[in-house]
């Protein structure tokens, strides 16, 4: 598809009197990995839930793949929530197969092949018959990822996908995410770690429901004017800039 994968225009979202998303505007290009970086309470999860259609904006608009995020385009979206969100009593294979079915993979043979493939990709072949309740936290994360991408959607939302993973598994996840973007998938990944942020092609720094800076990691670092600046320095730089703008207002 031509045009951006996601367009967010002047988006606001309130929980009661609390403004959780405060006039965000973003554009996410097709086939990129886009990181939403910010501390807890910055609005990362709420923004993702708005983009997958779980919440309705208070004002402003969101277009995913050129359309508002409704059930009509849900088959083209993959969503990995923050919690593993799996059925504990059934096996790895049964969980992935269930999500493949509800995402429209009706052909039994093709689905079975795809489920086997994705189990191998997340390196859980030996555990495919194991009930979720008997898996470690990292294994559950891998199953959760498999459930989100089994139907090979062009647009994938991953809410804190690397939380609780050991360093080796984190590297493995990022290798896989990079392969997905190379294959043309668009990834929107929320995180609060700078290690994750460094892997993304594009980033948005979020704070109290607002975008305080966006661009490639290199461009964000360069904006500080310090050639040795880290992403952490860049984040603090944009926060200071935002504070100064607020003081002026």
């Amino acid at each position: 598809m031509t045009g951006p994968a996601i367009t967010v225009n002047n988006l606001t979202f309130n929980y009661g009197n609390l403004k959780v998303i405060d006039g965000m505007t973003l554009e996410i290009a097709n086939g990129t990995s886009y990181g939403l970086l910010g501390p807890n309470g910055a609005g990362k999860t709420t923004l993702i839930r708005l983009m997958v259609g779980l919440l309705k904006p208070t004002s402003g608009s969101i277009l995913c793949l050129g359309k508002p995020p409704t059930r009509a385009i849900a088959e083209n979206i993959g969503y990995m929530p923050q919690l593993p969100a799996l059925y504990s009593e059934i096996s790895v294979e049964q969980n992935i197969d269930f999500f493949a079915r509800i995402y429209g993979m009706k052909d039994r043979k093709a689905r079975s092949e795809r489920v086997k493939d994705i189990i191998k990709v997340v390196d859980l072949w030996d555990k495919r018959k194991t009930q979720i309740i008997n898996l470690s936290g990292g294994m559950k994360q891998r199953v959760s990822l498999a459930c989100a991408i089994v139907h090979q959607p062009p647009l994938i939302f991953l809410d804190e996908p690397t939380v609780g993973l050991d360093p080796e598994l984190r590297v493995h996840f990022w290798e896989y995410f990079t392969n997905l973007t190379k294959a043309g998938h668009t990834l929107v990944i929320s995180s609060h770690t700078f290690d994750d942020a460094a892997h993304c092609q594009q980033l948005a720094f979020l704070r109290t429901g607002r975008v305080v800076g966006q661009g490639s990691p290199a461009a964000l670092r360069a904006a500080t004017g310090d050639k040795d600046a880290s992403l952490e320095d860049a984040f603090l730089y944009f926060i200071r800039q935002d504070e100064e703008r607020k003081d002026v207002r």
Partner: protein, 242 residues
């Protein structure tokens, strides 16, 4: 009802079947209750009179409990959020649960029914299949009621508290212990709005007087209307609370 309804139902059944302890409890719990009822009511005539109402009450009780907890877990473990972000409809989710859990509710009815007939030796009239159809209708009401009220609980403790609020009052005013027309006027009116009243009335007419499903049309239509209303309300409550 779409293919997705069956996909959900199949998963719900698989979940229960893979949990052996739950399966054991589904089988043992009705046997224990039926035994206690049988031994605590030694008078044969009274037991014959009470048994149909016990069947209707217990399907409502167990159906409400198992659905309420299952749905609550779907909400709290995040899988409901995942389902709501997928292409399936809210009605598919509720109808899938209904289909999946109804089988277990009917299994409990069958266990209790055969235990009461062959072990406790109660007398009954009417056709078994008609009794099962009527119990299925009660089961549908129980599942919808459980789904609907699970939206108002944040954890299992709160869900359990709905039993004394939603189920036990119905037991007292449904005619199980005291005929509805002998209740105080206010409670008699309250009973007219509760599904168990029609469940007890209907199953008693079938098992004690040998009436057919056609003979108890009023009870059936009220229970169908109740189930339809609850089904719509249950699917409306499926927005994820944040």
């Amino acid at each position: 009802m779409s293919g997705n309804t069956f996909t959900i139902a199949q998963r719900v059944i698989l979940q229960v079947v893979r949990d052996r302890r739950t399966i054991a409890l589904i089988i043992v719990a009705p046997l224990i209750i039926a035994s206690i009822a049988g031994f605590s009511i030694p008078d044969k005539t009274s037991l014959d009179a009470f048994s149909p109402a016990i069947l209707a009450t217990l399907i409502l009780f167990f159906g409400f409990l198992i659905t309420g907890i299952s749905f609550l877990r779907e909400r709290t473990q995040g899988t409901l959020e995942r389902l709501l972000a997928s292409p399936i409809s809210k009605m598919d989710v509720v109808a899938g649960y209904l289909l999946g859990l109804l089988g277990f509710a009917l299994l409990q009815t069958l266990i209790m029914f055969f235990y009461m007939v062959y072990v406790l030796d109660i007398n009954y009239s009417g056709n078994l299949w008609e009794i099962l159809v009527f119990q299925a209708l009660m089961g549908i009401n129980a599942v919808c009621l459980g789904t609907f009220f699970s939206a108002f609980a944040r954890n299992e403790f709160q869900m359990i508290q709905f039993i004394p609020l939603i189920i036990i009052p119905q037991i007292f005013v449904s005619g199980l212990f005291i005929p509805v027309d002998q209740l105080p006027v206010v409670l008699e009116w309250v009973s007219k709005f509760l599904p168990l009243t029609y469940g007890v009335e209907g199953i008693r007419a079938m098992m004690l007087q040998g009436q057919s499903l056609l003979d108890i049309g009023k009870d059936i239509w009220i229970l169908v209307a109740y189930a339809a209303g609850l089904l719509i309300l249950a699917s409306l409550t499926l927005r994820q609370k944040s």
